[in-house]
Symmetry: C3
Subunit: 301 residues, 3 copies
Amino acid sequence: MALRAALRSRSGLTGLLSQRSSCSSDIRMSPLLVPQQRNYSTPPKIRVEFDQSTGVAVMHMQSPPVNSLSLDFLTELCISVEKLEMDKSCRGLIITSAQPKVFSAGLDITEMYGKSPEHCGAFWRSVQEMWLKLYGSNMVTIAAINGSSPAGGCLMAMTCDYRIMADNPRYNIGLNETQLGIVAPFWFMDTMKNTVGQRTTEMALQLGLLYKPADALKIGLVDQLEPEDQVIAAATQTISRWLAIPDHARQITKSMMRKKTIDKLTSNRESDIKYFVNFITKDSIQKSLGGYMEMLKKRRA
Amino acid sequence: MALRAALRSRSGLTGLLSQRSSCSSDIRMSPLLVPQQRNYSTPPKIRVEFDQSTGVAVMHMQSPPVNSLSLDFLTELCISVEKLEMDKSCRGLIITSAQPKVFSAGLDITEMYGKSPEHCGAFWRSVQEMWLKLYGSNMVTIAAINGSSPAGGCLMAMTCDYRIMADNPRYNIGLNETQLGIVAPFWFMDTMKNTVGQRTTEMALQLGLLYKPADALKIGLVDQLEPEDQVIAAATQTISRWLAIPDHARQITKSMMRKKTIDKLTSNRESDIKYFVNFITKDSIQKSLGGYMEMLKKRRA
Amino acid sequence: MALRAALRSRSGLTGLLSQRSSCSSDIRMSPLLVPQQRNYSTPPKIRVEFDQSTGVAVMHMQSPPVNSLSLDFLTELCISVEKLEMDKSCRGLIITSAQPKVFSAGLDITEMYGKSPEHCGAFWRSVQEMWLKLYGSNMVTIAAINGSSPAGGCLMAMTCDYRIMADNPRYNIGLNETQLGIVAPFWFMDTMKNTVGQRTTEMALQLGLLYKPADALKIGLVDQLEPEDQVIAAATQTISRWLAIPDHARQITKSMMRKKTIDKLTSNRESDIKYFVNFITKDSIQKSLGGYMEMLKKRRA
């Protein structure tokens, strides 16, 4: 099978689908880091710092090892975003990673492997929900991309109003789905078209290209590069410029620019879930996912 | 109120909304400048020079101090364009400013402040009419942007087939509506998207960005920079290249490229007027406009 | 008539419409070049080399002097593409020219001059068919543009997934229809918009611009320049990178990106033919075509 061969030949490939590590002992929790809004039995995957004086929240993704977008992670993220959205004093959101070397490695493969159609459907709905919440946010949103950001990680970054990436050539960003034999759904495509245009998207998606920061800047996939330790500072500086604009006018403008793209998913949400579930539960795809997980395990060992 | 705060904090802001000066004593009228087609009691705001030998008309906007787009100004402009459009010997139109330092400062604030809904509606219809006439013109249209061109001035420039701007870093161009707490309507957005693409438009409109000539060139908002005193000469040179193309083929091509965007306003014209009137006559917006006018008066004094 | 004047004034113009040379004695046929799939009485206009080991076919256009897109040529090309498309072992297609200095000079004028409406209609259907087959191909398609490529030649190149052009400033590429007083149909426009964006297309089509390779690269009309004798080698190298992607995922991605544009022609095919036939059989257009053919004859003599 083509996918399997591709996977075998790409042992160096980061991306798209990642496995949650069952080991979470290396989460360093300090009292400062405990969000006050929630109290799960597991460590929180999202840590939000909200500065009342500036109206800016910083959302740290802290799900080791690579901020995989699992159902739990996405649920927690959506709840956090929704709370901030409803808090009128919060006007801006910076999204960044607390994990080293990675912003987010994308969708969590374990949510789609050997799972029931119901589970796969619930998972996919949470991916949609994350996109709808972030792409349609009334807040100014800035991605502080302090590590690699393939597939779902890239999608999350593209939902933001502005993207600042660490200028480290070992990091990359892109929608690399085809490299694994799967296909970015239409709303991933639309988001990328809105960011870098039709032609660049056509080539990037067909080849599943992952761009180094300098190349991502060149095609407009990110807006600014900064030294790794200054990405969040730069995001903080940039967001103050965006917040100088009257909220109401900025929000209506943003909504008018993105409405058509958002409406397309909103009105096709169920069929999109059905399509995904049907695809991902196919024997051939399940086999490929299994092979990919084996490869990841061996690489780590 | 956010808009007011924004206005207070931006005393240096040019743009978007401007006030007609009640003093028009500084219009220098020479017999040569009197258009032959009309004879108003007030000095003409538009002066058209038509060269039969080349088929090119040059339209000088001469409404001091800053070519504000008032109802009278727009009406006069539309009549001039329509006359040229119907004159088969006129194949090209260069639009430029007779006022120093400014191409056009955009919509005239006095047409929307303290005016009846009927007046506001008539004013907005004239803005639409200007856009429809220029964006859909059969003539080759070139903007010779010899000064700053914010908001409505930028819109007018974007309707043209080609834009040449004075290479003076004190000038700027852009749709800066959000900076004043208002929103560029969908057809302003569409025109900008057709000019610089989705992503650049999204950021430019959300931030209400005004670009210096060099930056405007970089993003494709203008096509060419020239020394200030050579902008019209360059426009004349460029238009001859466009006129070398058979009219019929060029016109059909232009119409095919712009039809969808034009149809969208044509079929939503009344609702667009209703939306504008409803918005602009709101107490909060009227208060903001009042505050803005006060600020302009003080700055001049 | 404007077109005629334009034609007279542009004696140096290559392009758009070309005449088949009735002299085909300079086709050098070696046994190696004879395609095995067919056996016409006339020399084949298309020579296909298929390498089973790589899954890549190279299609050499060899219709002297300038690979004019005649009804016969297009029919032969479509049959060749269809055969390759149905051959599961063929995954990639490189299109190039066996003629010196030209990739393809575009539509064959003799198919539209003095011909019956029925003939013109059949011809236009074959142009549509070529576009539908290539733009919608499941294979990876690369244009190895080893010569000038005006009008229909440019269209053919734009249907491909990737374009490599010979870095020779004497060559050019573009949709120059308006220069001859005719208009690129909507699907030519759409293909170009998908390649270089709305604004560049608007200007390029209105002016009928032909770009030198360096300029074509700058606007994204081609993706890569290579020394003339290395164009095919570079295409071979590039296609292997595309073939590293699992076919199924790449094909679905390509189809999703192009579907809307393809559907638009598919559902307007008959009216597009009717429009073309009605236009091209007009007396004024026929006169212009006649004048153009006369000019070509004189230039050759």
